[in-house]
């Protein structure tokens, strides 16, 4: 694929160094005991903006020509991608516009504004966010940063995989299994490409909300599939309507197994991460850990890497996860 592959991921790593956090690869002996495997948790909740999204956004931005970059970037997202794009723009010193639904949580709007982005609120019942973004792109010469279906974005997310390989090596470990949370597939495509290159023979798993496994179905069908309806559950970070065409094309050559997690399993995994790892996860970010803890895949005796992809969680949801 033009612009994407292991070389593009290495280039992205060079671009991002010093701008984003090299998040730790955490381990808990108690968690290992619970799962029956060595579990390495890439804590992207500790990334700037509380999720991995700033990696892809900043890589995409830094590949733009200087004059294009100066005009700024646009994203439509009420979630982690919006904050990632806002932060990337601030880090690169260019303007950003984030298009968000009028009912988006106040804190998400405020976060984007804190990073210096302009927010444009729309009514999802009567307006089309893509059309609004297109209008801004045309009127102001800005560049749209897609959330996942983009080689530069996938390459940025792939730096998570490079770091997992490096940090495991520093700890004297060789992962033989990886689990990645998956929605559009940008993170999964990037991480599996990076790790598949560093660790041949690795078993690849993507994890999606139960009943809404659009990427697993896309891989089985050999074409992009959509969810039957919006998931509407707790895992909003994994609730996009459709799998990405480019991520699907990247993942197809790999032997990828699709796993799922329910909301209850994700809440339990958030509680386990709280108790044993002392990190704050959002439900969608806990999907991989949930799949492991609820025995969706046999990893006994293996060395498993997983991406804890974000920590932007509603307080009321978090309180449910932290049970007595």
């Amino acid at each position: 694929m033009p612009g994407f592959g292991i070389d593009a991921i290495h280039q992205a790593a060079r671009r991002l160094t010093g701008h984003v956090v090299r998040t730790p690869l955490l381990n808990s002996p108690v968690l290992d005991d619970l799962v029956g495997a060595r579990v390495l948790v890439k804590a992207e909740c500790l990334q700037l903006t509380g999720s991995f999204k700033v990696r892809g956004a900043l890589n995409a931005l830094l590949t733009l020509d200087e004059d294009v970059r100066r005009a700024g970037i646009v994203a439509y997202s009420a979630g982690n991608h919006g904050q990632g794009v806002a932060a990337a723009a601030r880090l690169a010193g260019c303007p950003a516009v984030i298009v968000m639904p009028r009912h988006a949580p106040r804190v998400k709007v405020d976060n984007c504004r804190w990073w210096g982005a302009e927010t444009v609120l729309y009514d999802p019942r009567t307006e089309d966010r893509e059309e609004i973004a297109r209008t801004i792109v045309q009127a102001r010469g800005m560049t749209l940063i897609p959330p996942f279906d983009d080689p530069r974005v996938m390459a940025g997310q792939g730096t998570v995989g490079l770091e997992i390989a490096e940090q495991a090596r520093e700890q004297g470990l060789t992962p033989d299994t990886v689990l990645v949370n998956c929605s559009g597939g940008g993170l999964a495509a990037g991480v599996i490409t990076a790790l598949g290159h560093a660790l041949p023979g690795l078993a690849h798993h993507i994890v999606e909300p139960a009943g809404f496994d659009k990427m697993a179905r896309s891989l089985a069908a050999g074409r992009v599939c959509a969810n039957p309806r919006p998931p509407g559950g707790l895992m909003d970070a994994l609730s996009g309507p459709v799998a990405g065409a480019r991520p699907l094309a990247v993942l197809r050559p790999y032997d990828v197994t699709g796993l799922t997690a329910t909301d209850e399993e994700a809440l339990a995994a958030m509680g386990t991460a709280h108790r044993l790892l002392k990190i704050v996860l959002e439900p969608g970010a806990a999907a991989s850990l949930a799949a492991l803890l609820s025995g969706k895949v046999d990893v006994r005796g293996r060395t498993v890497a997983l991406v804890a992809s974000g920590g932007n969680v509603d307080p009321a949801v978090y309180r449910r996860a932290v049970a007595d």
Copy 2:
């Protein structure tokens, strides 16, 4: 002081490398904005056992002669020190006995046992924990590991300070202010010695529960002081009855400012750490961040390092900290 100083801390660092976690030095631009300073958070909640305590315990253990070590170690603690000693013993492959009150939370007893330690439960109304520990030491040839009043323990905790200096340098930063949570003073003595050596001119602050600032009063009086009564609040990690004589002797030559935090301020700081840093803190571990956030010290424009010393928190207390 025999056995303690910057050289002892460097020796401890060499002993501990590969056994304990080099925890990350976290930063949040939003937190920086809130405080008006660059804030570097040493996340010892991500340490093995969820607190820094394993560092001092393991350093003390590894300085013992082989045959003494093989006989094992003893601690009396219902808290983080007990878990730290249990984990240190497991890492070094020797037995451990943890003496705990009968009413200690089940999870703390279970954690010590998970690490392979034997637990001895006593009735604090009728029995004396020091006497019980002494009996075990004599009968079984084991070595008592004190929680703070010990040069080897202080040296182990000092490795937190070495890492702060190294990690700040890696980020191109030079802290000019440090805040350390303080109870007996082992962590404060170690960190301030390590950082005072690496960063001359550093402003040193210890943070204690409001009304129970035994170390600040000890520093002012030039002798060991006790708290008027047990604090009984949420900051159990900072609730020991008396300041350590050796930590006091180490801290006296420094110009140390005593700060305090209330339970409510600690809860608010836990919420801020949750929201902006995505780490789980216990109330006592949030004291330094609480002092910063509630403006107990003017740090505008400065580069502040603080130790987020642990994350072993009661679920009900944590739910109070995670407000809407």
